[in-house]
Every structure is written in C-alpha cells, then in structure tokens.
C-alpha cells in the first residue's frame, strides 16, 4: 500500500479531468491526475476508407478484431461500440466502478486516458442562458468557453440559421467541404420553414488546418475506425500534453473506489491491479465520468439521498434518401456530422438537435440487418440506395429522460432507466416533422428507418449532482463544490445544471476549466 499526499487530486483523465488539470498545471500548480486507463486505442492503417475496402487484405483485423470480437456484439445501435480498436476504451467500466444497469438502460463509460472522447466528443456548441442556468451570469464561463475552444480546434463557422444556436462562429474555422449528398440538401435550405426546422453546417471539433502534432482532415472517411491524422479532437491529445508538463503527474491504471473525510481534506482510496493506493488531498476533483463520479460522491455523503435523477438525451436514428441521386456511387467524405439541424419546440419549448452523416465510411452490414427483406436481395439494394442517402440522428432534451441512480447497500450503484410519459408522443411528432422537413429538402425518410435507441444509448449522462444556486447536500455550488462534501468538486457531466439536446462536451470541458480556475483564484494564484 502506498500513500501519496498532494494538495489536489483529479480523478479521471477524460475531457473534464484533463481540462481542469491543464488549467492548474499551466498556472504552475502541482497536479496529480489518476486515470483508470491502461490500454489506448488501436488505430487502423493509413489510407482512405474506400481504397482500403478494395485493397487492404488484412482489413478484417481492424474491422472485426484479431479474434473477431466485433462479431460478438451486434445488439447496440451505435457501430462505434463494435469497432475493435476502441474496445479497450469501454471494457470493464461498469465492473471497475461498481455500477449496474436496470430496465434496459445502456450503461457505458471509458476506462481509458481521454475517456469517451476517444470515441465521441466532437460535436460542439455553446449553451445559452436558459441552458446554463446558474452559470449563465458568470463571465468566467464565457472566457473558459473561448479558451477551451481555441485549444480543441473547432470548425464549421458559417452564417446560417444555426449560427446563434451554436454561438461559436467567432471561435471556429470555416467548415470542411460537403459531399454531393449534403451539398444538395444544403442548397435547398431556403425551402425550409425557418421557424420550425433549422438547417446549418455542423460545428465540430475537427481540424481544417494542421495544428502542432494534429493534421487537418483530408476526408479519408475513417472517422468511425479511428483517425490516424488526429484531425478529430479527443481529450487524449490534451492528456499527452499534460504528461509532458514537469509539474503534472498522470498516474494510469488506478480506479478510485472511495472518498473518506479526514480532519483536513480527504483520503481517496484507489485500486490498481488489485493493489490498494491511498491519496491524501485537500481538494478532490471528480471527473470519473458522470455515473462513476456520482457513485463516489453519494457514497461519501453522510446521509445520501435514496436516489438521484440522471439525465440523458433520448435519441433515435433514421435514414433519408434523395431520389435525384439515383445512379450515383459512393465518394470519399467526412464521416462525422456534415450538417446539423434543430427542430424547435419539440417539448415544453425546448428544441431537438441532430446531425446528418455520410454512409460512405460505414459498413454496409450495419444497414443490411435493418432491411425488411432477405439480405441476398438487400445487398444489391443497398449498393444502389446508400449512395443516395444520408443517416441522421436526433437527440431530444434531457428533461424527457427520468432515469434514477440508486446507491445500494453494498456501495454499488444501480441506474434504472426511466422516461417522461410524453416521450413516445415526442418521438412520433419529431419523426413526422423530420419527414416533412426532409421532403422540402428533396429527400425521403425511408419507411421503418426511424429507430429509437434504448434508454441511455446516447451516453450523454449528466445532471446527477447539478450546480444550483441553493444546492441540496448532494448538489454542487456554483464553484463546483459539492454542498455536503466541502473540498470535493464535481467537474464532469454530473455537475451540469441541465441537459439540452445540444452537444454538451464543450460545455463540460469549459466548466471544468472554469472550476479549476476558480480554485486558483481562491488560493490567490493568478491563472495563466
């Protein structure tokens, strides 16, 4: 057993943990970050997806895995969860953090440096005043937004009807070029009823020009499998930067198990390879991922609430085809969001948000299984249909979810899926409005293609320890400090005051930066 004494300990090396750690380290503070990850992601070979598909004789190894493990899980909606190179990220999260899921909740997390942003985390947007709640009035929040946006490298700036929704045009580079399918939709945007269905370029953390070690996107279409150019942002890049700083220590392979209050500060018990690790720290910054952070916090409270609400964005996926494109074949294109849309007022005045993607970098099997015909006939059908279509996803406001996180007697935590009674109606009306909207753009939603994900499939978990002006014991003050746990700060998604449909990673990163800078200020250190 080893004991480390430090002024502040950061638990978790995902987007939130690295953001706070960088803020502290860049101001000259000693930083100690523990992360559960031991394995990174495996990148696919160099080249464009469409070329590799025809030429790479060993492509099965990055598509299915050396031991074909990708063929084991065909249940989940997201193909990301089947990418063998990413498997190491998701493995063992629930067990290591003593988490369980009930009632069909999809519980996912990352035990890897960089966290879930290794797989997702590129969609960006500024939360507006109504979405920021108690944080809206803070000018620090806005300066943190600007700071982290500059660090991540955003693109997608465009004068369109989503400019004010994203609020990022001053902080972003111009967008990547659209492929022929998105271009055709984009050219027809004036046909949309502007107050109802808003279409704009996707604002996304992808580079359109080289920056330090990361290279600009070259439209190779390997976004699903992993980008060798590191054009898409992941917190693992920031973590690498942190590792190189002399006053920062990144310790890997340690899972935090328990927080214990001491006379002055906290004792954090961790486990590494079955061995116990102890850390004594005045301040503890929780960034283990919303669900894991919540368990640590509730477990540390003297009298924790019976259960707390967990927010996530109910989501669905669909496909639209443009008959005009009949006879086209696939062309290389960017594999993440190219266009974004907002459906206004889907529920209690809140909007739904979604992205449109090319199918050219996705395995055809991902679509084949949904077709209502035999796959022998479906294959030539898709070869014709896919180059005419784009896939879309839709995220609904987090207020429509009603999951509960329950701390059990054995100190584990269970997530029970739940949803607002309105959700089925909202899904139905959103599908109808999308159908109508895309018709105006000259595209047809394929019948039966609108498929709702299981609860939690969005993996946008948030809001369990929300920041409030007048917090309960398990909630956070505006400073990020958990009211009932002085010295413990929830800096990841757990402390978000609310969860709109808008992509929330940027807000988590910015909020972590803000909380860390607040700590510096109170200690009389001038933040750099």
């Amino acid at each position: 057993m080893s004991l480390v004494s430090i002024p502040s300990l950061i638990i978790g090396g995902g987007p939130a943990g690295t953001s706070a750690a960088l803020a502290l380290a860049e101001s000259g503070q000693a930083v100690h970050l523990i992360d559960a990850g031991t394995r990174g992601i495996d990148l696919p070979p160099e080249g464009r997806y469409l070329d590799l598909r025809f030429q790479d004789t060993a492509q099965w190894s990055w598509q299915l895995g050396q031991d074909f493990q990708s063929l084991r899980d065909s249940g989940s909606v997201s193909p990301k969860l089947r990418v063998p190179g990413l498997a190491a990220i998701f493995e063992g999260y629930a067990e290591a953090n003593q988490l369980r899921a009930e009632r069909g909740f999809q519980l996912l997390g990352a035990l890897a440096g960089g966290g879930l942003s290794n797989a997702w985390g590129c969609g960006v947007g500024l939360f507006d005043a109504s979405e920021l709640g108690p944080l809206a009035a803070l000018k620090q929040m806005h300066s943190s937004y600007a700071r982290v946006a500059a660090r991540m490298g955003l693109s997608g700036s465009s004068e369109d009807s989503l400019s004010s929704y994203f609020g990022l045009d001053d902080l972003s580079d111009p967008p990547l070029p659209l492929d022929y399918l998105h271009q055709a939709l984009w050219e027809r945007r004036s046909k949309l009823d502007r107050n109802d269905f808003l279409l704009g370029r996707a604002r996304i953390a992808v580079l359109t020009r080289d920056r330090e070690e990361r290279l600009a996107c070259d439209l190779r279409g390997m976004c699903l499998w992993g980008c060798r150019r590191h054009a898409t942002w992941s917190a693992s890049h920031d973590l690498n930067r942190l590792r190189r700083m002399p006053n920062a220590r990144v310790e890997e392979g340690v899972v935090a198990i328990e927080l214990r209050r001491e006379a002055e500060g906290w004792m954090v018990r961790g486990r590494s390879d079955g061995e116990e690790r102890l850390y004594r720290a005045e301040k503890v910054l929780l960034a283990a991922g919303t669900v894991a952070s919540t368990r640590l916090a509730l477990d540390a409270l003297e009298s924790p609430p019976e259960s707390v609400r967990l927010l996530s964005n109910p989501m669905a996926a669909f496909m639209v085809v443009q008959p005009r494109m009949f006879g086209k074949v696939h062309q290389p294109s960017f594999g993440l969001a190219q266009l974004s849309y907002v459906l206004e007022r889907v529920s209690e005045g809140q909007s739904a948000f979604g992205n449109l993607f090319s199918t050219s970098g996705l395995p055809v099997s991902e679509f084949l299984k949904y077709l209502p015909i035999t796959r022998r006939a479906g294959l030539p059908l898709l070869r014709t249909l896919l180059p005419m279509g784009v896939v879309g996803n839709i995220f609904l406001p987090g207020s429509l979810s009603a999951h509960r996180a329950v701390l059990n007697g054995d100190r584990s935590m269970t997530i029970q899926a739940g949803a607002s009674a309105d959700l089925p109606d909202v899904y139905r009306s959103a599908e109808k409005r999308l159908r109508r909207g895309f018709r105006k753009l000259g595209a047809w939603m394929l019948p039966g293609s609108f498929v709702a994900g299981q609860p939690g499939a969005d993996i946008h978990y948030a809001g369990t320890l929300s920041i409030r002006d007048e917090p309960a014991a398990h909630e956070c003050k505006v400073s990020g400090e958990i009211a009932g746990l002085p010295g413990v700060y929830a800096i990841d998604g757990a402390s978000l005051p609310m969860l709109p449909a808008k992509a929330h990673t940027l807000t988590i990163v910015a909020n972590a930066d803000r909380i860390a800078r607040g700590l510096l200020e109170r200690n009389g250190v001038t933040a750099s």
Partner: protein
C-alpha cells in the same frame, strides 16, 4: 516435465498417445519388446517374463496398452499375472498406473479377450490402478478393427450390412488419448474404471459413415445375416486358427452398452462428431468449411472471396463453437435455399450456435474481405441504367426467396 512409461506405444492407440503426450510437453518412455518410434527412451519389457523393478525407475506414471493377440490359456494367464505384478509394483512406488481395458470386459464375456480384460481389472483396481474402457476406437491411421473395416471396404467397394445391426459406441482415438492423459494424474480416479465412448449407434451406420466421410467413395451395401456370417467364421476358425474365428464377431454382437456421460463430464472430455472424426484431419473443419461456403454463397454466388470461408471455422472457434450445424445436404448443395431462410424477423437471434446467428456473423465476415468489396460498394462510375438493373434483380431475388421459404422451412424441419 512429466515422464510417462507406455506399454504398447507402437500400437494403434499407443502411437497416437505418444504424440499427444509429447504435445503436452511430457516425456514418453516406451516399454516393451521393441522400441516405439518417436519415444524419447526405451526400456525392454516382456509380458511373459518376470518384471524388473528398474523398469519403473524415475517414471511419473505408466499406461498399459499392450494386449496379447496370441491365443491359448497360458498366454492369457501370463497377461493377467504380468498386469497384477505391474500394479503391485506401481502401487508400492506410488506411480499411477492406467490400464486400457475394453468395452467387452466382463467375467462372463463370450470372448476370451473380454474375460482377460475383466480378470486384469479385477486384479489391478484394488491395487489403486485406473482402468479405461473405450468403445470402438476409430480415426487417425487405419489400424485396429477400424483399419480392417476401412481397408476391406476400400478394396472391395462392398459395405456389409449386418442383419440385425449391432449397436456400437465409437470413440475417436484422439479423444481416447485425451481422456487417458486427463485421468492419469487424477487422485480421485485411483481404483476406478471409466467408460470412454460416444452414444450408441447402429454398426451399419458406422460403416456407412466411414465410407462417406473417410473413404469418400460409393460402396455397394451387402446384406449379411449374422447367423450366416458366424457359421462361416466358425468354419474359417477351424481351418486357419482362432485368430479369425467367430470370437470377435461374438464380442461385437454381445457388447454391453455403457453410459459414459457422467464419466466424460468428470474428465472434461467431449466426443467429437463421428462425421468430423472420420475426416482426414479428424477435426470439424471439412464440415464447417462446407457450411461456411454455403453461407457465403447464400449471400452472393460466385467463388471469389474464399477468405471468408477459410476464416469461418476460426471465427466460430473464437466464439467457442466447434460443431457444424446439421444443415440438410440439399441446402448445402443449393445455398440459394439457405438465403430464403433469412427472414428479417429472425435476425435478432445472435447466438453462434444457431443458423441465424452464424448467418449474421458470416455476412459481416464477408464484408471484411477486399475481394468481395465490389459486392458491397459499387465501384467505378455509377449510372442510371446500372442502378435500375440492380433494382430489377432485387425484386426478382426477393420474390424467389418468398416463394421458396415455405418449402425450405419444411426441409429444415424435416432434418431436425
């Protein structure tokens, strides 16, 4: 490293056992009149002569496979007393001894062979030795009774159909050797005997499978009433000596069936499918390959992209599946029928032990090869005409499948 002495290491079972023990990293010392090829060392032992204690010096275990094929009461008595002395010595030196007996072992067996095996078991089990009673051993090189049957059918192209057909319990020689090695050092096995064989099956079916899977030739079935055969053998025995007498036939027709399931479970041994065991490799690859070929061709015809077929068995093994499905031959021959079984509402079945689960996996496997890429992604320049033609094909193919589905379902059900 374990050092095991094997009596009869040059025989049918012994030669396989020698190699399988060496594959486990064990050292095999051949015991007998002649050195077995491949053994690391040899110590001369003669069943007819008194046993020297130096024979088991430094050995960690002994396997006794040797059987006397000579006739005469003297030699059988010598066999029993040799085994008894060996068990006595092994017990004294605390060296495990395993004796390979026979399914025919019984004090009241009609054959001398069966009675001798029973007598040996009676002598050695109380001394802490282990016995294994294998069923009808087959597979590997064509030796033993299996070898006689196979070469007879190959030479004559005739396949005897015994009337009535006796029941036999077959065991692949590799499975038997696995069982021997698994039980040899098991402390709880001391003083017990284990039955190692497959489920009972018709002897005539056994011969038919040898012809189809091993010899891969058509053979002419010849009905042979057992009473007639027995009479012939009796006469032959009188003329040419008891080696080809009626005794072996008697021991075949009067076999007592063994319930092996609990023994096999205790030893952690699973009998391979007879059809797999009779292939040259003794493994299920041949049947898995034809299943994989059919699945691939059910998605699209042609013979390119054999990569997926070659990797199909490997993929299944990585999902802990080593058995081929019992698909009807007609479906394997005409994979178009298999495609008709791909009903969208069954697709949620993902268990790798089901046809739908394997179809799901095989179709994804097909997509991960470069040669078939053009089946998934239209190459070159697109055109309106090409796409229109594709849609026509889609409609035609789907109509075919819908028409075939009820029929194929009946065939598949009939098979089950």
């Amino acid at each position: 490293m374990r050092k095991v002495g094997v009596l009869g290491a040059s025989g049918y079972i012994g030669s396989v056992l020698l190699r399988s023990m060496q594959a486990r990293g064990w050292c095999v010392v051949s015991l007998g009149r002649r050195a077995a090829s491949g053994a690391s060392a040899h110590r001369p032992v003669d069943i007819g002569k008194p046993l020297q204690e130096s024979v088991i010096d430094g050995l960690d275990a002994i396997v006794h496979l040797a059987a006397n094929t000579d006739s005469g009461n003297d030699s059988h008595a010598a066999e029993v007393s040799f085994a008894s002395a060996l068990a006595e010595m092994a017990g004294r030196c605390e060296v495990p001894l395993l004796f390979v007996s026979s399914q025919a072992a019984s004090a009241t067996a009609s054959s001398q062979y069966g009675r001798t095996k029973a007598a040996i078991e009676r002598e050695i089990l109380p001394k802490g030795a282990i016995a294994i009673r294998p069923g009808l051993v087959y597979g590997g090189q064509e030796k033993g009774l299996f070898g006689v049957l196979a070469s007879f059918m190959r030479r004559t192209r005739l396949r005897p159909c015994l009337l009535p057909s006796p029941l036999v319990q077959a065991v692949h020689v590799h499975d038997l050797c696995e069982a021997i090695s698994s039980v040899l050092f098991l402390p709880s096995a001391k003083g017990r005997w284990f039955a190692v064989a497959g489920r009972p099956m018709q002897f005539n079916g056994f011969l038919r499978t040898i012809a189809a899977r091993r010899l891969r030739m058509t053979t002419l079935p010849v009905p042979v009433p057992i009473t007639v055969l027995r009479l012939l053998l009796l006469v032959a025995g009188r003329l040419f000596g008891p080696k080809i007498g009626a005794e072996r036939l008697d021991s075949l027709t009067s076999l007592k069936l063994m319930d092996c399931d609990s023994d096999m479970e205790e030893l952690g041994i699973r009998m391979r499918d007879l059809r797999d065991g009779l292939s040259r490799s003794g493994r299920p690859y041949r049947r898995l390959l034809s299943e994989g070929t059919a699945l691939r061709r059910s998605l699209f015809g042609g013979n390119r992209g054999l990569w997926a077929v070659r990797n199909y068995p490997r993929m299944l093994v990585s999902h802990d599946q080593t058995l081929a499905l019992d698909l009807p031959t007609i479906v394997l021959r005409f994979p178009r029928l298999l495609a008709a079984l791909d009903s969208p509402k069954d697709r949620s079945e993902t268990r790798a032990s089901t046809l739908m689960g394997r179809m799901n996996m095989m179709y994804r496997l097909c997509e991960a090869g470069a040669k078939d890429a053009a089946k998934f992604i239209a190459p070159g320049q697109g055109s309106f005409a090409r796409s229109a033609l594709a849609l026509l094909i889609v409609g035609f193919s789907e109509a075919q499948s819908l028409a075939l589905r009820p029929l194929v379902r009946i065939i598949a059900k009939g098979q089950r």
